[in-house]
């Protein structure tokens, strides 16, 4: 199970641990090393160099999603009271002076489950029932409302080159062009609901994890998707790696307790081949490729955060969440890793000097 020579190897070591009052729902890094975290109690905190700042205290409603804009100048958070809050991130040294709430968008009784910033300009997309709204930070106004229509929005993802935004839900994925919001979306049809979607870093492929235990992968623009089957349950997470030598990235997906890592065959018609990673003894809650290498991190209900060397074998197992992990995030360089626990744990690990050369 543990690859020869890797057992006991320290790739990452714990740098800091703190806690929020409940289930940590999301963690996110800014490009300059600030960490934000939210909890089911409604807290939003900022972390910098071991200091924690409370941006929102525990309240009545859970905060479920948060993200920094690509330039790190804004932080947005949304949750079950229907509010989307945006803070301006200031370039001060002290964490106490680093954020300034600039707007609160009220959306009545709707839950805000998903939000994401455009990869280059400061436009924020957030789910709003069956719609997605795009809010522009420069003019501080909602510039469009995209009707997904079929069902509630289950996931959304900007194409990394900024050209399109994909919105997932029942019936598949609808892709809107950022050039013309009024244009009809392109529909990637599926027989069930798409519950999670991710673009590859080169913007070439889009993957959809579906409720009927399948994954659909499309080379965007082609009309012939690949469909991967054989999963024991619905697809809970999808993540693309950096491109390999042949320019195609790996696609990792989790379903129940297992992970499948898909590698594209040289010829299109040969499809994708899977390698199955099993070590978890609980549902996988988060799965994310290292931003610079093939190191894959998976965090699960079993209280293990596993680092898979070259997305193949267990490199290191990190612990610290008594009731299981809930979420994780790599910082932009991949030198730090943050994870949130189901009992409110917030843990940061940093790259070990001894662990050089992984991935």
């Amino acid at each position: 199970m543990f690859g020869v020579g890797t057992k006991g190897k320290v790739l990452f070591q714990q740098q800091w641990q703190g806690s929020l009052s409940e289930y940590v729902t999301a963690v996110a890094w800014s490009p300059d090393g600030l960490l934000a975290a939210s909890s089911a109690a409604g807290e939003v905190v900022l972390w910098q160099d071991g200091n924690l700042l409370n941006l929102l205290p525990a309240g009545l409603a859970s905060i479920d999603c948060l993200a920094f804009s690509a330039d790190g100048k804004f932080l947005a958070a949304g949750g079950q009271n229907g509010q989307v809050r945006v803070w301006e991130v200031l370039s001060n040294n002290l964490v106490e002076d680093r954020a300034n709430l600039i707007v609160t968008l009220d959306n009545a009784a709707k839950w805000i489950d998903k939000l994401s910033w455009h990869p280059t300009c400061n436009q924020l997309a957030f789910s709003l029932g069956r719609y997605v709204q795009i809010w522009d930070a420069n003019i501080q106004t909602v510039i469009t409302t995209l009707p997904f229509a079929n069902s509630s929005v289950l996931d959304l993802a900007w194409q990394p080159n900024g050209t399109n935004i994909a919105i997932a839900g029942d019936g598949g994925i609808k892709v809107w062009s950022t050039q013309d919001w009024d244009d009809d979306p392109y529909l990637i049809e599926m027989p069930s609901a798409s519950i999670v979607t991710a673009w590859s870093g080169d913007s070439k492929y889009i993957a959809s994890g579906n409720l009927d235990n399948t994954i659909t992968v499309l080379e965007y623009g082609s009309s012939h998707p690949w469909v991967m089957r054989g999963f024991p349950g619905k697809i809970s997470n999808l993540t693309w790696s950096q491109p390999l030598l042949n320019n195609t990235p790996l696609l990792a997906a989790s379903s129940v307790e297992g992970i499948a890592v898909w590698k594209k065959a040289v010829k299109d018609e040969d499809g994708w081949n899977a390698n199955i990673l099993t070590v978890h003894d609980g549902r996988i809650k988060a799965l994310e490729f290292h931003p610079r290498s093939l190191l894959l991190a998976s965090a699960a209900d079993d209280g293990w955060l596993v680092l898979w060397t070259t997305a193949k074998q267990v490199g290191q197992i990190l612990e610290g969440a008594r009731d299981g992990f809930a979420c994780l995030a790599w910082d932009q360089e991949g030198k730090q890793l943050a994870a949130g626990g189901q009992d409110g744990e917030l843990i940061i690990w940093s790259e070990s000097k001894r662990g050089k050369g992984f991935g």
Binding site: A109, W111, G129, N150, S151, A193, G233, R283, A326
Partner: protein, 322 residues
């Protein structure tokens, strides 16, 4: 807060036509001092405004299911909402899902049968259907009205003050013909003791078949309804292989018309009773306790469905006996 030993949350699915008294019942559940913290998922169609108001007053949490039409979108949305709720598991002891007046409750029930996350976290407690004793007469032709009755474990025959005793007796007998498994309560203003509503454990296989013996002994009535229920009682042992073939074929060909089924079976070579239940084509079964000494080993099955050929099903079942 200390975690409960059994970490699954019981779920009550509340159905009934618009105006039947669902909202009144929901508000009773939310305001009643039963010591349970109840989370509610309501539908955006219907009387949500009033609910929200009352619920906030009652200091309960209310959650909105962003889904008007009950169709295949239900599963994705329900899973999304419940997964979110479960992050605050300690905040509630019981979950109530109110479906729309026009809804077929099957997709909601099926979600708890098929989804691997839901199966572990959620235990279906019961389907509770509120029937308007006066206005149901206008809805008999609607499939939804019949399905809501057919799927129910608990039926509130509500607004009994608006109909004559004779009408009520007729209605109750008609409903019994459609669904003999359900417990029927005659109510006014949806007044019913909480014990009869919450914690019923109607889907718990361990208590599976507390089928009313009277029902099993009852002579078959002639009903003109397309939706009906009936029981099969047979002594003797079943051939496991034959049974398997019959059941899988039955669910494939008639699954759409079988709303619910339950059974205790005596399988040849097994010391334990085999218990099962089904919703449409989904089946959930397991060996139960051993047959007791001196206990008569027999097979009891109950079907509720539409256009079911009772004689054929009885005959086919007999063919499975050793």
């Amino acid at each position: 807060m200390v975690a409960t030993t059994n970490n699954t949350v019981p779920v009550t699915v509340l159905t009934g036509y618009l105006g039947a008294g669902k909202t009144t019942l929901l508000n009773r559940i939310l305001t009643h001092e039963h010591g349970k913290k109840v989370a509610v998922i309501v539908n955006e169609f219907g009387e949500v405004g009033i609910d929200n108001q009352l619920v906030i007053d009652a200091d309960e949490e209310i959650f909105e299911m962003n889904n008007g039409c009950i169709c295949c979108t239900v599963r994705g949305d329900l899973i999304r909402i419940i997964s979110n709720l479960m992050k605050r598991r300690h905040k509630f002891d019981h979950l109530v899902i109110e479906t729309t007046g026009l809804a077929d409750p099957a997709p909601v029930i099926q979600t708890f049968f098929v989804d691997e996350d839901m199966k572990d976290k959620i235990a279906l407690d019961a389907v509770v259907t509120v029937v308007d004793a006066k206005h149901i007469q206008q809805h008999w032709d609607a499939d939804e009205a019949q399905e809501q009755i057919a799927f129910a474990d608990v039926i509130l025959l509500n607004k009994t003050d608006l109909v004559s005793p004779e009408e009520l007796a007729d209605l109750e007998s008609k409903i019994q013909g459609m669904n003999k498994m359900a417990k029927i309560y005659r109510t006014q203003n949806s007044e019913l003791s909480m014990d009869a509503l919450l914690g019923v454990q109607a889907f718990d296989l361990d208590r599976a078949l507390e089928i009313d013996p009277e029902f099993l002994n009852e002579d078959a009535h002639e009903h003109d309804e397309t939706v009906k229920s009936f029981a099969i009682v047979e002594s003797g042992e079943l051939d496991g292989q034959k049974l398997n073939n019959w059941l899988s074929n039955l669910l494939q060909t008639k699954g759409v018309d079988i709303f619910r089924m339950k059974g205790i079976l005596n399988i040849a070579g097994e010391d334990e009773r085999f218990v099962f239940q089904g919703v449409h084509m989904l089946l959930d079964g397991k060996p139960d306790r051993p047959w007791k000494k001196g206990e008569t080993r027999k097979n009891e099955l109950v079907f509720i469905g539409r256009n079911l050929d009772e004689a054929q099903l009885r005959e086919d079942f007999k063919q499975c006996l050793v």
